[in-house]
């Protein structure tokens, strides 16, 4: 059950000109959040911007005694709301609603889990990586960005024993090109008898390409979709994507806030998803 709290900003860690990690005291949300769930944050005290913004829960932060005490978000400065969140000072209180949405279902060993992140799409994978590590599922993070300076927080994954494969479009770090290049090679090399599930979050063209690769190689694939959201609770019908029902059938406009953000990639009608 989601709660709404006036969460105090504990820390605002700048990663680069465009990226920051914002930590917010929110014990109730931290305690009940599951991998891949999101929160709705009011980025300003006033009415511009008016609506809250959805953010994947990036990390669950614990106090000295190990109890969940706070959550962080992985913020990329894009529009008005994310610009405010890039500058927010510790001590500020921000309304925080969550946890929301359908979470990732981590696979158990001997199946492997491959997380594929593009840019700010890294956001939902720290919580998933922790859940995978807890069940000793062999896990790999494929993480791509345009430039080396846009790759962040890789150490969080390495600390959990996650194998990391990087790619940059300028070739300065990791494989040269898009992350789908090393992903495709890995899919090609993996014997069919070795199960693996893909988890994808990133720009729409990248998710579409990953969904296609997963289908071609016969692998299960979940995607975490980001759409413009009004409420996060299923009230406004703003955040829909065209998706088939879990049992198949004709595609319908489906709310990403309550039926997602995590979807089986094969359910999504990718031609209809707005690209960005």
């Amino acid at each position: 059950m989601p709660v709404d709290i006036d969460a105090t900003v504990i820390a605002n860690r700048r990663l680069s000109a465009d990226y920051n990690v914002l930590s917010l005291a929110a014990p109730e949300i931290a305690a009940s959040a599951r991998p891949g769930q999101f929160v709705m944050i009011k980025t300003s005290g006033g009415q511009d911007p008016l609506l809250r913004r959805p953010f994947s829960i990036f990390e669950i932060l614990r106090d000295e005694s190990g109890r969940p005490a706070a959550v962080s978000i992985f913020n990329k400065r894009i529009g008005a709301g994310t610009t405010l969140l890039s500058r927010v000072e510790p001590g500020t209180r921000l309304p925080l609603l969550g946890p929301l949405g359908r979470p990732f279902e981590p696979v158990d060993p001997p199946a492997a889990a491959w997380m594929i992140a593009g840019g700010v799409g890294l956001a939902p994978f720290v919580t998933l990586a922790a859940a995978l590590a807890a069940r000793k599922t062999p896990a790999t993070l494929f993480y791509g960005a345009r430039r080396a300076e846009e790759l962040h927080c890789v150490e969080l994954f390495e600390a959990m024993g996650i194998r990391v494969v990087l790619a940059t479009e300028d070739g300065c770090r990791g494989a040269h090109g898009r992350i789908t290049v090393p992903l495709e090679a890995a899919l090609h090399d993996r014997p069919l008898g070795n199960p693996v599930k893909l988890y994808v979050c990133g720009p729409t063209p990248m998710m579409r390409a990953c969904a296609h690769l997963a289908a071609v190689h016969g692998r299960a694939c979940d995607v975490s979709l980001e759409q413009v959201m009004g409420c996060g609770l299923g009230g406004c019908y703003s955040c829909v994507v065209l998706a088939r029902g879990a049992g198949g059938g004709a595609p319908h406009h489906t709310r990403t806030c309550i039926e997602g953000p995590v979807f089986d990639a094969q359910r999504v009608v990718w031609e209809a998803v707005a690209g960005h």
């Binding site: 009004g230 609770l233 019908y237 707005a274």
Partner: protein
């Protein structure tokens, strides 16, 4: 203290109603809001059949507001009755069903079906959605159309009939009068203002539907003015709405002439807004020695404009 409001045969415990299109079918909010604590729940607009609505993007923010062009996506009246109404009934919600048709006959058919369903307390006639081409608004933008649809529905139901008026007309009060003459138990206003936003870099509209309806605090003063004009034109109860964010906003609408209010856009921003509004109303009544909330309805004092201090 008495917060109750009477709309035709229906008595609401308080004047706060969740606005249609902003609260799903109510059940989506059952975990965060005690539905029985609301004056009423106006569920998302229903056609006879299911509808897919418009392709996204469906909303865009504007200063102190938002545009929407959802396009009345919905599950249709039959699935609503079988899949959503039982839970609303179990949660003891006062259910106001917002209905939309493309023809007069469809409104009548919807009214008949819903009058037989257990747990429906009133019908709100959507004759004002700006986002669909067919039906709806074509009734709401014509005085005879408004009269015809209200009187046709009136004939087939005992439920309170509440046409929801569009602000996209020159003289909203004349539409209020047409609704009252046709036998409406109340009117609700305003629906959203037809509006547009353009991305200057791509020169494309920000909504797939090109235009959409503006809601939120940006429209509130216009909505208050329209409620005020309608209060002077009709005797039936008025349900006012348009960007209500605080208890003072509720009170402003009521003083302008609304008997009850709906909250829409700000429920997106704060789904827990309802208890805050009630607390604020209670504090106001305490502070002003008001025991019956309806006593403030339409009490705006315009005599001050005659006084010297305002013209000096």
């Amino acid at each position: 203290m008495d917060y109750s409001v009477t709309v035709g045969s229906l008595t609401l415990a308080n004047p706060l109603i969740a606005a249609s299109g902003c609260f799903g079918y109510g059940v989506e909010y059952a975990d965060v809001v005690d539905l029985a604590s609301l004056g009423g729940v106006a569920v998302k607009g229903l056609f006879l059949a299911e509808r897919e609505g418009h392709p996204p993007p469906r909303i865009v923010e504007t200063p102190s507001g938002m545009l929407n062009a959802i396009g009345l996506q919905g599950i249709g009246v039959h699935r609503f009755i079988s899949e959503r109404l039982p839970e609303l009934r179990a949660r003891r919600a006062v259910v106001i069903v917002n209905i939309c048709g493309t023809t007069l006959d469809e409104y009548v058919e919807l009214a008949r079906i819903l009058s037989d369903a257990q747990g429906v307390h009133a019908l709100e006639l959507n004759i004002s959605c700006p986002n669909i081409k067919e039906g709806g608004i074509t009734f709401g933008c014509s005085l005879p159309g408004t009269h015809d649809v209200v009187s046709a529905v009136r004939k087939v139901t005992r439920l309170p009939v509440i046409p929801k008026l569009t602000p996209n007309v020159t003289d909203v009060a004349s539409f209020a009068r047409a609704a009252e003459d046709a036998g409406a138990d109340a009117i609700s206003l305003v629906n959203t203002f037809l509006a547009m936003a353009i991305d200057v870099h791509t020169r494309r509209p920000k909504l797939t539907n090109i235009v959409g309806g503006l809601s939120g605090p940006a429209i509130r003063p216009i909505a208050v003015r329209m409620v005020y004009e309608c209060r002077r034109a009709v005797k039936i109860p008025i349900i006012g709405m348009g960007g209500i964010a605080t208890a003072d906003d509720v009170l402003e609408f009521m003083i302008a002439g609304a008997n009850a209010v709906q909250v829409g856009t700000m429920n997106f921003v704060d789904p827990f807004i309802w208890t805050k509004l009630m607390d604020g109303i209670r504090a106001y009544m305490d502070g002003h020695g008001i025991v019956r909330l309806q006593d403030i309805v339409g009490t705006v004092d315009t005599s001050a404009r005659e006084k010297a201090w305002i013209s000096s």
